[in-house]
Symmetry: C2
Subunit: 163 residues, 2 copies
């Protein structure tokens, strides 16, 4: 199978209080109350029309500080190695990150958001409305993560994915 290249462009930037890869929340659930802003390039501002009716948005972004890819990783919530596609670790073959955050307000080309687990200065690729009918599943099994569920809301990152 040919490994075709696909070129995307940064459409904005995510600003957060998280300045370092270590000691930051590993997921929105561990970033409760953390506020930040998403600045969309003015060329795309028209695309934000009616977004303010949604309480939560899916931020799609580029893990710009995690350029190496590992196929087996020790995620923050375990000390065993798992396949990278069975984890949300940042060092992936394509460094695409997804976070569902609370949308506080849209002001022009800027979104104020909460529960933000993203590093300051992260390049933004897309914004999608979070829609439970599309995105929410019931009767879910979560494999190796089951044993770590109690830690998710208090776990912070360490230096394991720093190049």
């Amino acid at each position: 199978m040919a490994k075709d290249e696909i070129i995307f462009q940064t459409i904005g930037m995510i600003h957060s209080p998280h300045q370092e890869l270590t000691g930051m929340p590993i997921q929105p659930a561990s970033a409760a109350g953390v506020k930040g802003t998403v600045v969309v390039d003015p060329a795309f501002e028209e695309g934000l029309k009616d977004l303010d009716g949604f309480s939560h948005v899916i931020l799609v972004y580029y893990f710009h500080q995690a350029k190496l890819a590992d196929l087996l990783v020790k995620p923050f919530l375990d000390d065993e190695k798992h396949g990278v596609f069975a984890t949300r670790a940042p060092r992936r073959p394509n460094g695409i990150g997804i976070s569902v955050v609370k949308l506080l307000v849209v002001e022009g080309n800027m979104l104020r958001v909460e529960n933000l687990d993203v590093l300051d200065g992260t390049p933004l690729l897309d914004i999608k409305p979070y829609v439970p009918d599309f995105d929410k599943q019931e009767g879910v099994r979560i494999g190796w993560l089951e044993q770590s569920r109690g830690e998710i809301d208090k776990k912070m990152s360490d230096n394991r994915f720093i190049d």
Copy 2:
């Protein structure tokens, strides 16, 4: 703000019964029971280790048939124009699609999945485990989509995003 280019590579391909952009389910909720396969390039097979413990996965893929971007779109569920970032329409500045599907089984480098709303031959960018603690939100408002909720599970696509 500089529009930096970010280059990703196809890591596999999604195979589904959906051969045409018209008349296909617009979301996993309207693709109940539709089965398909996700074939990961053998070079990345090791990254699938332990994925079989998860009941649902997030497929991240490239809307390869929707190359033009519109900032205002009429989504399948409405006849009013909304900002593209307030919709899940395929014709986006960066054509990144996200679908949460049911994982039936992992066989080597192949995943059998269900509730598949993706066009046959779609390039795969990433697979992530679906984890309710990370991805599921409560107390959600869904803006303009509220009036269309009853249609989501039976709505099929038409030709509005065909170039």
